[in-house]
Amino acid sequence: MNGPAVIDLSGKIVVVTGASRGIGRAIVESFCESGATCVILDILEEAGRQTAMELNAQGKKVDFLPLDVSDHSDVKKAFTEIFSKYGRVDVLVNDAGVTLPTPFAECDENDWERVIGINLKGCFNTCNAVFPEMIKNGSGKIINIASIAGKLGGGFRGTAIYAASKAGVIGLTKGLAREGGPSGINANAVCPGVISTVMGNSIPEEQKKLIIEGTPLKRYGEPREIADVVVFLASDMAGHVTGEIFDVDGGIVRD
C-alpha cells in the first residue's frame, strides 16, 4: 500500500487566464499551494499585477502578463514569451470570461462578437497556442471553465449568448479530448453553478433566493471549491479522466 495521497505539482508550469480575481485567482492560489509555478494572463492589468505581487509576497511563484485573450496574434505572442521563459506549459486553465445580462431581444451583433470573442474564441486562441507543444511533449492538461449556463441555455446570470459561448467551450473541450488523447493530453471542463464572486453576487436578491431553492446544497459555491476541482483534474490522479464535463454546482443540474 502506498503512502497518503498528495498532489505535488512542484516544477509544473500552469497558465491561468482571467486570474486577477474571483475564480481564476482562487485557481492560481490552489495551484501555488500544490507547488506549481503560475502565469496569470488577464486584460485587467492593474488587478493582475496586484494579484501577482500579493502572491509573490507570500512566497508563491506567480508571473503576470497583460493580455486580451480574444486577440489571436496577441495570444500567440504571449505564449511565445511564456515558452521562451519557462520552456513549456504543463497545464492550461481557461477561466477568462464575461457575462451578458441583456435579454436576447435586446442584443445586437456587437454583444455577440464580444461575448463569443472572449469566452469561446479566447479559449480557442490559448488552446491553439499550446496544443502543438503539448502534442510534441506527449503530455498536457487543459481545463476549461465553462458554466452550467452552457447546459441550461443560461438562466441565472448568463443569457442566450453567454450560454452559447459556454456550450461552445464544452464542445471544444470534448474535441480536444478526442484529438489530444492519443498524445497523452487530458482536456476537461468544469461547469460552475452560482459562485460567490463579483459576478455571482451581482444577482438581484429575490433571484438569489430562487437559485438557492433549486440548489440541493442550499448555498452558493466558493471560488475555492472550483479551484480544488481544477487542481485535481490537472493532477496525475485524474490521468484517466478526459472529455469530462464536471459540474461544481451544489447539485443544480444533475445531468
Binding site: M1, N2, G3, P4, A5, V6, I7, S30, E33, S34, K151, K174, A177, R178, E179, G180, G181, P182, G184, N186, G193, T215, P216, L217, K218, G221, E222, E225, I226, D228, V229, V231, F232, S235, M237, A238, G239, H240, V241, T242, G243, E244, I245, F246, D247, V248, D249, G250, G251, I252, V253, R254, D255
Partner: protein
Amino acid sequence: MKFDFNGKNVLVTGAAQGIGRSIALTLASCGANIAIIDMNVEGAGETKAEIEKSGGKSMVFKADVSKLEMVQEVIAEVEASWGSIDILVNNAGIVSPKPFLETTQEEWDKIMAVNLKGVYNTCFAALPGMIGRKYGKIVNIASIAGKKGGGFFGNTIYGTSKAGVIALTKGIAREAGPYGINANAICPGPIETNMLSGCSKENRERILQGVPLKKFGQPQDIANMVLFLASDFASHVTGEITDVDGGIMRDN
C-alpha cells in the same frame, strides 16, 4: 493538496478484489477506517490484513447487499463500534455478458438485486445517521454501460441496473443535499480487472479504438476519483456523474 481521512469511517461494499480493494486500500492509506461488506470473506480478509499491516483499522462483514436486514445489521454494528459512517462507497456488483434474449428472469432479478437494490439498501440504512450528523459522502460506482445500455462487458440488464444507480444517486443528492450530504457516481469505462482478462486480444484492440487515451483504466484510477469525491475538496460537487473512461463517453 493532501488527502487526509484520519478519523473518517468508511463502508465499502465489494472490496474483496479489483476496484473495491483498490478503493479500500487508497482510503486507508490516507488514514480512513475501512469496514467492508462482501460475500467473498477470504478476499475481503486479505484486504483487511493489508490495511492492518500498514497500521490501519478495518472490519469485514459477510453479508449479501441485496438483503436490507443484513445491511441494516452491519451498519448498526459499524456505527456502534466506530460511532459513525462518514463515507459510503457502493462498489459491489455483478456482470452478465449474455445477449438480452438469452437472459432469464432469474438473472434479471439477481442483477437488479445486487447492483441496484444493494445500493438502495446501504443508502437507506446509512442515510439516517448521516442526516443526523449533517455530514456524509456517498460515492456509487455505476458504469458507462448505464449510459450506453451496456456494450463492452455488461449486457442490457447490467446497463439497466447501472442506469438505476445513476438516477438513485441524483435523487439522493437532491433529497439529502439540504443536510450537507454529497452523493455522486463514478462511471468507469473498461478497467484492467479480472473482468477484462477474459477478453481476447482482438476485442481489446477493438475497444481501444474508441478510447481517446488509447489505454484501459486501472483500478487505481477509480480509487483516485472516489478519494477526491469523498474529500472536502469536492464539497460543492453533488449529483455529479463522473466518467473515468479515458474519454469514451464525452457526454454531459
